[in-house]
């Protein structure tokens, strides 16, 4: 057994040794150890380097609040996690751990030069140090900051673990399974009440695990604990360990992160690494206890300096003596017990140094009886030792005078600045805190949530007080849940309640300007930094926090907030409650991205919608692009073709013969009812009253502000029935907008709206041979110019399938869109594809669709418009029904700005050098004007056009419609391209190709 393991103490099982490595070296711990307790058992205090100064650091705490002992853990490929707290990670055979923030090794670290240059890194150094010379920024400062920034090393491999996401509903959620939480559960127990208790530790018990000397109800604390846990479980209480309540959200929803496998030597099959629980509880008891505060003095961060309560936990829970010759420095009674406990297991406590002039007589007497030197009214002014503390300098204090210092040798320094109620979750509820003068700390005041705080969270110290308060709060919530609650009366012996005083920095005889007295260990913030921030004008605690980064580290200020507040308040000359605390935010402790992501990763990150024809496209070599949530065939390259070649071929063959295109993703809305035509008249700019059954029309949808929102071809299938199509990406938005107007502005209209996007498969045939190809399959209508002219629609049969057939064109060629019930789409596609072989049919994707429509000047809403484009800007004033009394957007179009001259208008552009423009490129009238130039528009669409024989572009240009033939200039990084403004129709302006 190692030198520091104490036989017969602790809850670890020393008969079950566990081997793990730290920085490549093998260590032996015991079943139940954390990495920190096992290293301490081996006499290792040096566990990491600090973030900014790279100072050697050891574990300062024994729980999740640990700021220093951050390690990387590894379990084979992909399973590396940085910044794990060594005080939380349980060891298992084969666990690999590494220290952080060091190069080349933990003991000899180059970055420690920062410590010597600490004057450079004072508060706000980000804003000062790197300001000059300006030319240094790119080459020196930024690379330096980038290399130094961040804690730990991010994993580089994909995480192979699974993470689960669960919901849980309960009547009562108790956070914290210490004495207060246990008593609350006991007091609230009732038939039919679902109670859940969570604790972040590996086992329930809280403080009781560190105080085996106590006797509860006449039994040793641990015996009582085991019986109580068993009894609560038997009564149906669900106790979840290794589960951290990370956040308290609205209406009693709490997030819990359950660590399922991190403590196991081998991973069980089909088990997630972590589970994120979203719990909705009718009532919540927060029994999270209190966190011990460090004392602030020069050198309070050396390995071997730790919280007295942590030392007690290491001894009593893990059976580890943190040193053989410790010194205790404290302003609170609780640390005295740490000294007594250590003395009892053979450590020689060198001194108890208390800042207070008077301490409870029984404590002083016991110390004397144990032979521990006591120094009251003393301060600590320095520590020594490079990688481990070797001595401490203590000075007497009399009033404002600090006397001569005296060195005391030691191998550990246990400190306590008193206790801070853990109010993080309470603060998440927007709960208000109230300052308590006696305890000089903040206590919970009120919250809107159905939540009570029990025990040390309310400033009640000692096991008896926690049990009593827990029981009272438990009955309180039981009553709120309509249950009588249970009487709980528990006697406690050997309890250790205590009191203390709250300190700022300890008094010193040295120059405080040179003191390294740490307040926030993880971010290396010293008392001097906080005072400097105030001197430099920071008045709000929120500014002090951000300027110094105090409390901004991953420990969320668990140790630093109150000390920081006391020091800042002193510097400001204002009482602490007037200065106030910064806001705590979730998560309570660092939480993995995996736990938040849960199942939503990889293919489950987002829905991928696929059409019925998608498998054909995949089998035929389509390259896909995402459009909204849809996956659409982008182009169909043949062997050896790049995108440009494939698109050029698809365009040419479509215009030469016939192309087939999967248009199923088009949004479709069925507008039905006696008032359907009235509704359409009000929603769309176009007139609909006179549109005959069997005819369709291009419809334009505006917002009431007058700007284009969506467009699409709309067919009148019956007197009271419209088949509305929308853009692929706009379908849901248009549906929502229609419902909004129908439900809330015109509830008198008798109209029904149904989203039918996924009910239809839509196949578009375009090209001079489209009618010839399709006609043999159509029953019910003849595909002639007379019987079925352009912009017709009909319910018919196509290849034996019920169909809605539209004669529309988004290419300028003879065009049809065949809608069949969605499941039939693939079959129809195959039939048309086979029949089309005689015409050399070509399958084309969205890119060719874009090129063909741009050649005809047809806009794409959202590409050629951007939410500030009116129909008149887009050259589509013809679609606006000027004689209608009202439609959505009509009044908006009359706003002075929308009718003004010089608006950006959609035009065509042809480059003089025949180069292809870049979409989004900015346009100027005069390229020789001084910089910054006046931008007059931008390129919205740009393609190589096979039909035109040169690249074409669409653009929004100021006053463009009145500038036909003028030359504009597009500035690119390497050159300026001149282009001529043209109309937007590049192919067949007479529409002669639309005729059969």
């Amino acid at each position: 057994m190692s030198q520091y393991r104490v036989p017969g103490r602790g809850r670890v099982d020393t008969s079950r040794p566990v081997n793990f490595t730290f920085d490549g070296r093998s260590y032996r711990g015991a079943q139940g150890d954390t990495v920190a307790s096992a290293l301490l058992a081996n006499g290792v205090h040096l566990m990491g380097r600090s973030f900014k100064y790279h100072r050697p650091r050891g574990a300062i705490a024994a729980g999740s609040e640990e700021p220093n002992a951050l390690i990387g853990t590894r379990r084979g490929p992909g399973r590396f996690e940085p910044n794990t707290r060594a005080t939380v990670q349980e060891i298992w055979n084969g666990l690999e751990t590494t220290s952080q923030n060091k190069f080349p090794s933990l003991k000899w670290d180059v970055g420690a030069v920062n410590d010597a240059a600490y004057m450079m890194f004072s508060a706000g150094f980000y804003y000062k140090t790197f300001m000059w010379p300006k030319s240094f920024w790119n080459k020196v400062y930024e690379p330096f900051i980038r290399a130094a920034a961040g804690l730990g090393v991010a994993p580089t491999e994909e995480d192979p673990d699974q993470y689960a996401s669960r919901y849980l509903h309960c009547d009562l959620l108790i956070v914290g399974a210490g004495p207060a939480g246990l008593a609350a559960a006991r007091a609230a127990l009732a038939e039919g009440l679902k109670i859940v208790m969570v604790d972040e530790n590996a086992e329930p018990g809280g403080t009781l695990l560190s105080e085996p000397q106590a006797r509860i109800d006449g039994r040793p604390a641990w015996d009582w604990l085991a019986a109580e846990i068993a009894a609560l479980k038997a009564a149906g209480v669900r106790i979840m360990t290794r589960t951290t309540a990370i956040g308290y959200y609205h209406q009693n929803m709490l997030g819990l992160c359950e660590r399922v496998t991190d403590h196991l030597p081998s991973l069980p099959a089909d088990t997630p690494r972590e589970r994120m629980w979203r719990v909705r509880a009718r009532q919540v008891v927060l029994a999270q206890g209190a966190l011990e505060k460090p004392l602030v003095f020069h050198g309070n961060d050396r390995p071997g300096v730790m919280l007295a309560g942590a030392a007690q936990t290491y001894l009593n829970r893990y059976g580890v003596k943190v040193g053989n010759a410790p010194v205790v420095v404290t302003s609170h009674d609780s640390a005295w017990y740490a000294a007594f406990d250590l003395q009892a297991v053979g450590a020689r406590v060198q001194a108890i140094v208390d800042t207070r002039p008077h301490v409870r007589e029984d404590l002083v007497n016991e110390a004397r009886a144990l032979g521990i030197p006591v120094r009251l009214s003393h301060t600590v002014t320095a520590t020594s030792g490079r990688l481990r503390i070797s001595g401490v300098r203590v000075n007497p204090v009399s009033g404002a005078t600090v006397g001569a210092g005296q060195q005391i040798g030691c191998d550990a320094l246990l400190m306590s600045g008193g206790w801070t109620p853990s109010l993080h979750l309470f603060s998440h509820t927007q709960g208000k805190l109230a300052w308590d003068d006696d305890l000089s700390t903040f206590l919970p005041d009120w919250t809107r949530e159905d939540c009570v705080i029990a025990g040390a969270g309310r400033g009640l110290w000692g096991i008896e007080a926690a049990l009593k308060d827990g029981a009272e709060r438990g009955r309180e919530v039981a009553a709120a849940l309509g249950k009588p609650g249970n009487p709980v009366a528990l006697s406690v012996e050997n309890d250790r309640p205590g009191s203390g005083v709250s300190m700022k920095e300890l008094p010193t005889d040295r120059n405080p300007g040179r003191a390294k007295a740490f307040v926030d260990y993880q971010n290396d913030v010293t008392a001097k930094d906080l005072r400097l921030a105030v001197r430099e004008g920071m008045r709000s605690i929120e500014h002090v926090k951000r300027y110094t980064t105090n409390g901004m580290a991953t420990d969320q200020g668990k140790m630093s907030n109150i000390n920081g507040l006391n020091i800042a308040a002193d510097a400001l000359g204002r009482p602490a409650p007037q200065v106030g605390l910064t806001t705590f935010r979730p998560p309570y402790t660092p939480t993995t991205f995996g736990a938040f992501a849960g199942y939503q990763r990889g293919a489950h990150f987002e829905v991928t919608r696929k059409t019925q024809i998608d498998p054909w496209a995949a089998a035929n070599g389509a390259v896909f692009e995402p459009v909204g949530q849809w996956r659409r065939a982008w182009y169909f390259p043949k062997a050896g073709e790049d995108m440009e070649a494939a698109v050029r071929r698809e365009c040419r063959e479509t215009r030469a013969s016939v192309g087939i295109f999967d248009a199923s993703t088009l949004g479709k809305i069925e507008v039905v009812g006696p008032d359907a035509v009235t509704f359409m008249e009000r929603m769309y700019t176009n007139p609909w009253a006179k549109l005959g059954v069997g005819r369709c029309r291009y419809g334009l949808l505006l917002g009431d502000d007058g700007y284009i929102r969506d467009d699409g071809v709309i067919g009148r299938m019956a007197q009271d029935r419209f088949h509305v199509t929308t853009t692929t990406g706009g379908a849901a938005r248009v549906m929502n907008m229609m419902e909004d107007y129908l439900q809330t502005e015109w509830p008198d209209l008798d109209v029904w709206l149904t989203s039918t996007t996924e009910q239809w498969s839509t196949i578009a045939l375009n090209g001079p041979n489209a009618a010839k190809l399709l006609a043999p399959f159509v029953e019910g209508v003849e595909l002639t110019e007379d019987a079925f002219p352009h912009m017709s629609c009909v319910q018919c049969t196509v290849a034996g399938m019920p169909a809605r057939l539209f004669r529309v064109s988004f290419t300028g060629e003879i065009g049809f869109e065949v809608n069949v019930p969605a499941p039939m789409g693939a079959a129809l596609w195959e039939i048309l594809w086979q029949a089309g072989q005689q015409y050399g049919i070509v399958a084309y994707g969205t890119e060719t669709m874009h090129v063909l429509r741009a050649e005809k000047g047809y806009i794409i809403v959202g590409q050629d418009t951007d939410g500030t484009v009116t129909p008149f800007d887009a050259g589509m004033g013809w679609a606006v029904g000027k004689n209608k009394p009202d439609f959505v957007g009509k009044r908006g179009l009359a706003r002075p700005d929308l009718a003004a001259k010089g608006r950006k208008q959609l035009v065509g552009l042809l480059t003089e050098d025949r180069s292809k423009l870049e979409e989004g490129a900015q346009i100027v009238f005069d390229p020789r004007q001084p910089v910054p130039m006046t931008m007059v528009g931008h390129v919205t669409s740009s393609y190589v056009s096979d039909a035109v024989g040169r690249p074409i572009a669409l653009a929004l240009v100021e006053g463009g419609h009145d500038r036909m033939g003028e030359t504009v200039h597009i500035a690119m990084p390497d050159r300026v391209i001149a282009a001529k403004i043209t109309g937007t129709v590049f192919v067949d302006p007479e529409n002669s190709r639309l005729k059969i």
């Binding site: 009120w446 419902e739 439900q743 502005e745 509830p747 009044r891």
Partner: protein
């Protein structure tokens, strides 16, 4: 996550089923063309942006699909009440009295 009571379904359901739809009780004028530019601007753009109880619209998007009105405190994020579209504004005094924070 908020719990929201849908006055049509008469059920209290998680926020994820709902979408926000802007301030409530802003009626589209029956004859927009009769409005001056200032009046139209008021309808189109000007919103109250209150700190405290706010009349607003929600839609039970992934449920019954109905738009309804709510009074929500923008400070505490608490819903004071929800009610069907078309009903008059509920009395604020009686709603806020019932939602005073408890100690």
């Amino acid at each position: 996550m908020l719990l929201i009571h849908c006055p049509y379904c008469n059920e209290t359901l998680p926020e994820a089923e709902f979408t926000y739809a802007g301030e409530a009780h802003i009626v589209r004028p029956p004859d927009p063309s009769a409005l001056s530019d200032d009046e139209w601007e008021g309808f189109l753009f000007i919103r109250s942006n209150v700190r405290g109880p706010h009349y607003e619209r929600w839609r039970h998007m992934h449920g019954c699909g109905r738009f309804f009105n709510a009074v929500r405190d923008t400070v505490s994020d608490r819903f004071l009440t929800t009610y069907p579209a078309g009903q008059p504004r509920p009395d604020l005094a009686s709603l806020t009295a019932a939602s005073e924070p408890s100690k």
